[in-house]
């Protein structure tokens, strides 16, 4: 009944301790590895036929989809990051879609997971940007064609916007998944509450039930869309690392 209960981290067994902190294999860990396993199964377990079957089509469409996203946002040089972006996309997409199934756990509904991924992207961009461009990477913060008078202001804004990227990047995915799952759970609990109220309640429960069905469809869309948004932002940030000049 508690719409927050679905986000609880349940330790399954303890792996060890790091600096007094217990490291456990949790339900979250299980779903992370499930996403990895499902992705591997999809990409490796399907056929290699000339005319693809359904699963092979999904695998190839995933490949082409991510590849096209990188090519259009970061250009051909961005393909260096293809495995990286593909891993992020598949991890987020698969875990989001698995999370739609009732009684499952959604790893991206935890800010620590999305933040870790966002900071991974952030530092990848930062490190690759300086490695590839050296000090020219700072041009990212200096748009060309700006009058000198307002340049300090613009640079300040650019730096702040760059530094706030991991926050917006991670919170967007986290908040969407969290809010969606809470909404689903709230409406689903209306169904059980009304259903327990006898014959009138059973009929009354039809409305929230229909809403739950509709919301599940919406959440399916959100699950994919947010994974896509996360991926395309990753590509856009990587593009900044490759081509720092605006």
């Amino acid at each position: 009944m508690d719409p927050i209960h679905q986000f609880n981290i349940e330790p399954i067994f303890t792996i060890g301790h790091i600096g007094g902190q217990e490291i456990a294999f949790t339900n979250s860990s299980a779903y992370m590895f499930l996403a990895v396993a499902l992705t591997s199964l999809l990409m490796l377990g399907t056929g290699r036929r000339l005319v693809p079957g359904r699963m092979q089509s999904i695998a190839e469409i995933s490949y082409e989809f991510v590849a096209d996203t990188i090519r259009t946002t970061a250009g051909k040089e961005g393909m260096k990051f293809f495995p990286f972006v593909f891993s992020i996309f598949m991890l987020v997409t698969v875990s989001n879609l698995v999370g739609i199934i009732p009684y499952t756990f959604t790893i991206s509904s935890h800010i620590i997971v999305t933040a870790a991924l966002a900071f991974l992207v952030f530092f990848t961009v930062l490190i690759y940007g300086f490695y590839k461009n050296g000090l020219r990477f700072f041009k990212l913060f200096v748009p060309s064609g700006i009058p000198v008078v307002i340049l300090p202001l613009v640079v300040t804004i650019e730096v702040i916007s760059f530094l706030s990227r991991p926050v917006s990047h991670s919170v967007r995915l986290f908040a969407n998944m969290l809010a969606g799952h809470i909404t689903l759970k709230v409406f689903a609990s209306f169904v059980t509450m009304l259903g327990a109220m006898g014959i009138v309640g059973v009929f009354g429960a039809v409305l929230p039930l229909a809403l739950v069905v509709a919301l599940t469809a919406l959440e399916l869309l959100v699950a994919f869309l947010q994974a896509y948004v996360f991926t395309i932002l990753t590509c856009i940030y990587i593009n900044d690392a490759i081509h720092p000049g605006h």
Binding site: I9, E10, P11, I18, T26, S28, S87, H110, I112
Partner: protein, 185 residues
């Protein structure tokens, strides 16, 4: 963050039962962060390695193979089409040549046959005209022979008539000239 997961969970259950002060919102329970980060790191590294080493090259290979097959098939089809076009062109050229040859042979034969027929006709005409001339000659000689016989008979008859009438035998030369004159007249 000395609090362990077990305790955190126990505390959650406890506060729920109490209905007292709220348990921290699960996504913000800091004591779970380390576990999740460790799991996420392992999972992401595994996924990255699987993707970059196995999955993506495999799918790339499949897609490339398909593209090559399609390209090869298209090229093969194009080649076959070109071949058939060339064959069609050759056939048409051959057909045109054969038609021209047939026409030439036809014309030649017609001319030859015409010439032969013409020659035949001329020879026949010649032969016929020779025959005609011969026949005319025969007719003329026959007629002249007949005419001389008639003259002899006429002279004899005239001599006999004169002899009967006068009792004297007329001079044969006079009779002949008289017959001649009457025949002309």
């Amino acid at each position: 963050m000395a609090e362990s997961h077990g305790n955190a969970h126990g505390a959650t259950a406890h506060t729920e039962a109490d209905g007292g002060h709220k348990a921290p919102f699960p996504p913000f329970q800091k004591e779970t962060f380390a576990s999740q980060l460790v799991s996420l790191t392992i999972a992401f590294v595994a996924l990255y390695l699987i993707s970059s080493r196995l999955a993506l090259p495999r799918v790339r290979q499949t897609i490339d193979d398909r593209e090559n097959t399609i390209k090869g098939d298209l090229a093969h089809a194009q080649k076959l089409k070109d071949d058939s076009d060339a064959a069609l062109k050759a056939y048409e050229a051959e057909l045109a040549a054969a038609r021209a040859r047939a026409q030439a042979i036809g014309n030649e034969t017609r001319e030859k046959l015409n010439a032969a027929a013409e020659a035949e006709r001329k020879a026949l005409e010649e032969r016929l005209s020779v025959k005609l001339a011969d026949a005319e000659k025969t007719i003329a000689s026959t007629r002249s022979a007949a005419m001389s016989n008639v003259r002899g008979i006429a002279s004899d008859a005239a001599t006999a008539i004169v002899q009967q009438l006068t009792g004297a035998t007329p001079d044969s030369k006079l009779v002949d000239s008289a017959v001649e004159a009457s025949m002309k007249g």
